[in-house]
């Protein structure tokens, strides 16, 4: 849940990168850490296990500066994607204000994407949140692998699989190359801050 300090005119919100294991959530944050140095507040914390799998979470704090008369701080998190870390994933999701769902474009990961989206919906529901109402963006990652001859899914197919009902903005991406990372984050921030404006009316007109 976002924290709004009316006296100091500060708002702090939480965005969580969700998605199946090895889909590129950490890579998204690593790129943001490198590319948005000015906005990054402190260090990126990654808690990994063998094979560079996220064990607990990644954390990246950002300071966006003044927006409509208010200092805006954002905490970016990733969840562990592996199925066995369900309780950790749920814990990291607590208090979320906006979600970036990173889907893997590889054909072989089709089912994992759908299962992860279902898991997100259930975890949000457990916190009294509705997947249709929370600010959310889809990113179809690993589009670059088509150039290496890997079978990836067409965007239309991924839209049909994952976004048929949600109807949220979606972007193709290649987090490893930084493509689509910025626009995904910007759109998620825009939607999240807009949603928080409705709740807190924080922005000065």
């Amino acid at each position: 849940m976002a924290v709004f300090n009316l006296k100091k005119r500060e708002i702090e919100c939480k965005i969580v990168y969700y998605g199946p294991g090895r889909c590129g959530k950490t890579t998204n944050l690593e790129y943001i850490f490198k590319a948005y140095k000015k906005q990054v507040e402190g260090e990126m914390v990654s808690i990994n296990t063998e094979g560079d799998r996220t064990l607990f979470f990644d954390f990246l704090p950002m300071e966006l500066g003044k927006i409509k008369g208010c200092d805006v701080r954002v905490q970016l998190f990733t969840v562990p994607g592996q199925v066995q870390y369900s309780s950790t994933r749920k814990l990291v999701l607590r208090g979320v204000d906006g979600v970036v769902f990173v889907a893997d474009s590889l054909e072989v990961r089709r089912e994992k994407n759908m299962l992860s989206l279902k898991d997100l919906q259930q975890n949000l529901k457990d916190y009294g949140l509705n997947i249709f109402k929370i600010p959310m963006i889809l990113q179809y990652n690993k589009r670059d692998l088509a150039d290496e001859g890997m079978p990836i899914m067409p965007i239309e197919k991924m839209e049909k699989d994952l976004n048929r009902q949600l109807k949220v903005p979606s972007f193709p991406g290649s987090a490893v190359k930084g493509e689509g990372v910025g626009v995904t984050l910007q759109e998620c921030l825009k939607r999240t801050l807009h949603s928080l404006q409705k709740q807190f009316n924080w922005a000065q007109k």
């Binding site: 849940m1 294991g21 090895r22 914390v45 808690i47 296990t49 063998e50 094979g51 560079d52 799998r53 064990l55 607990f56 954390f59 905490q75 066995q84 870390y85 369900s86 309780s87 950790t88 814990l91 607590r94 208090g95 590889l106 072989v108 990961r109 690993k142 692998l145 290496e148 001859g149 890997m150 079978p151």
Partner: protein, 304 residues
């Protein structure tokens, strides 16, 4: 065929580089089947040997990942961060609740040593004492250390840190976990060590409410003054229990008006009888069904 094999091998290598080891394995298997089933390949055995080496290396990767600790001990810095990021109460407004949430988060992330340190500190805070004690017991059990958990409980049972009601609750809580885990209270090393710590277990964040099957209310005023009346519980939701009062029992209805505080109530649970207090929070007349005309009475359990 060699083109197909080359393409499949390329896919397998890429999946492996992506950390998708299961997918890589499937591709290698497919290549193995293709090679083994072919009579035309000139260097068949050499290819199979090369493939076998690749699969062995892949299996080693899988094994390393599977054997990696799921809850390694983190640095003090990471533990501080976990506490800060996962305590949701305001530190300024309610420091002890915030500290409890932070300690619970540590335990949920498997940082039991750090969590225990925090819970021990919280034993000194009256409002958090019971929750801290429950979580200390839970931590030791998650660590497979039933002996220490039992010793702790016994120490609290003999000491004066917790009041008798809290001791009762703690004992019931502890017995309940042991039962759920299939553990005996006596320290049996083999069983304790065989029980692996599960991250799915819930840590105590809120007070748990026992199932209440019946209540016995002693009235200190009204038509039933000095008498004890026993009633069955028809429904329970958290700390609110519902009872049915016959429409014929006018005196009882008179005694149990909304807002009346009941200071002497025996709550019957499947494990024990607890003495506590409650508040009549609602009374509605049943409009249909076999109990039509009777009253449904809600009592909010205030202490147990």
């Amino acid at each position: 065929m060699s083109k197909q094999i080359k393409s499949l091998l390329q896919q397998a290598e890429l999946y492996r580089s992506q950390g998708l080891l299961g997918e890589a394995k499937k591709k290698y298997k497919l290549v193995e089947e293709l090679i083994a089933g072919s009579d035309k390949l000139p260097n068949k055995q050499k290819l199979l040997n090369g493939l076998s080496k690749k699969m062995e290396a892949l299996n080693r990767d899988v094994e390393t990942i599977e054997k990696a600790p799921t809850t390694p001990e983190m640095s003090a810095h990471v533990n501080e961060l976990i506490k800060k990021l996962f305590s949701f109460s305001s530190k300024d407004k309610d420091a002890s609740s915030s500290a409890l949430e932070g300690a619970i988060a540590l335990a949920k992330f498997g940082q039991f040593e750090g969590a225990l340190e925090e819970f021990e500190k919280l034993l000194n805070v009256k409002s958090q004492r019971l929750s801290a004690a429950k979580n200390i017991l839970r931590c030791y059990l998650e660590m497979g250390n039933i002996e220490t958990a039992t010793e702790k409980l016994e120490k609290w049972q003999k000491g004066d840190l917790l009041v008798s009601e809290q001791i009762e609750k703690l004992t019931v809580f502890y017995d309940d976990i042991l039962e759920k885990k299939g553990l005996k209270k006596e320290p049996v090393v083999e069983e304790a060590s065989a029980e692996t710590a599960s991250q799915e277990e819930k840590f105590e964040e809120e007070q748990e409410f026992l199932d209440i099957s019946a209540v016995a209310i002693t009235f200190d005023s009204g038509p039933y003054k000095g008498e004890q009346v026993e009633l069955d519980v028809s429904f329970q939701s958290g700390n609110v229990i519902s009872l049915i009062i016959s429409s014929k029992d006018e005196a009882l209805i008179e005694n149990l008006k909304v807002g009346v505080r009941l200071d002497d109530v025996h709550f019957y649970s499947p494990v024990a009888i607890f003495r506590g207090a409650g508040l009549v929070s609602a009374m509605t007349q049943i409009k249909s069904g076999p109990k039509k005309g009777d009253y449904s009475l809600d009592i909010k359990i205030e202490s147990l």
